[in-house]
Amino acid sequence: MLENIEICDTSFDPAVKLEAFTKANSEAGAITSFLGQVRNEADSVSELYLESYPGVTEKGILGAVEKAKSRWPLTGVMVIHRTGAMGVGEPIVLVATAAKHRRSAFESCDYLMDYLKTEAVFWKRQKTANGTRWIEPRSEDYKDNDRWR
């Protein structure tokens, strides 16, 4: 079982990370990945800032990864999450899962993203033309996350 969880406060290159994950899982039939990037919004988000609770955040993600592993037969999991200040187009989060069949890979990746969006211990502040605001998960995010209960 190949596992890689990283919380980093400087930019990462999703292509490099995913290539390493793919190489390490070259005999898995199916690899699903999700990349979240800072969007270019109509009201022009110029910056996103994320903070974590060091120790607690990692432990929570590790718990979600363990749940994913017990629910789907995975051969590899990778979760990389940024903290700090990010500009438009910068990667925020990269999740990749590897399994024999695609259903397990898709569902576990989707599950981990729902966890990260609604339960992972991060706080997110958006800077727009109208100032800054702390943003919480949307009701759709909570609904998505409820699918796995």
Binding site: Y53, K117, W123, W134
Partner: protein, 82 residues
């Protein structure tokens, strides 16, 4: 000494990321600590908001959790990353 950590919007409400202090006299639980901090920092009830969760030594606790004066206490507004 207790170490208090403020996250997200609470950091802006209190104007600080963390503070270390001796447990004030008469403050024996999370509930009384929250009330004391609220008045101390003019938080207008921000710590009492039911969406704010509390961790003692990195474990979620309820308001009635007793304090000995030697803890790391985190106040967490609603979380969410990604």
């Amino acid at each position: 000494m207790i170490k208090i950590l403020y996250f997200g919007r609470l950091r802006e409400n209190t104007g600080r990321r963390e503070e270390t202090l001796a447990l004030p006299e008469g403050i024996t639980s999370i509930l009384t600590l929250k009330l004391w901090l609220d008045s101390e920092h003019y938080l207008d009830g921000a710590l009492q908001d039911p969406s704010v969760k509390t961790m003692v030594n990195q474990t979620l606790v309820h308001n009635d959790m007793a304090l000995s004066g030697d803890e790391e206490i985190g106040f967490l507004p609603p979380v969410g990353g990604g």
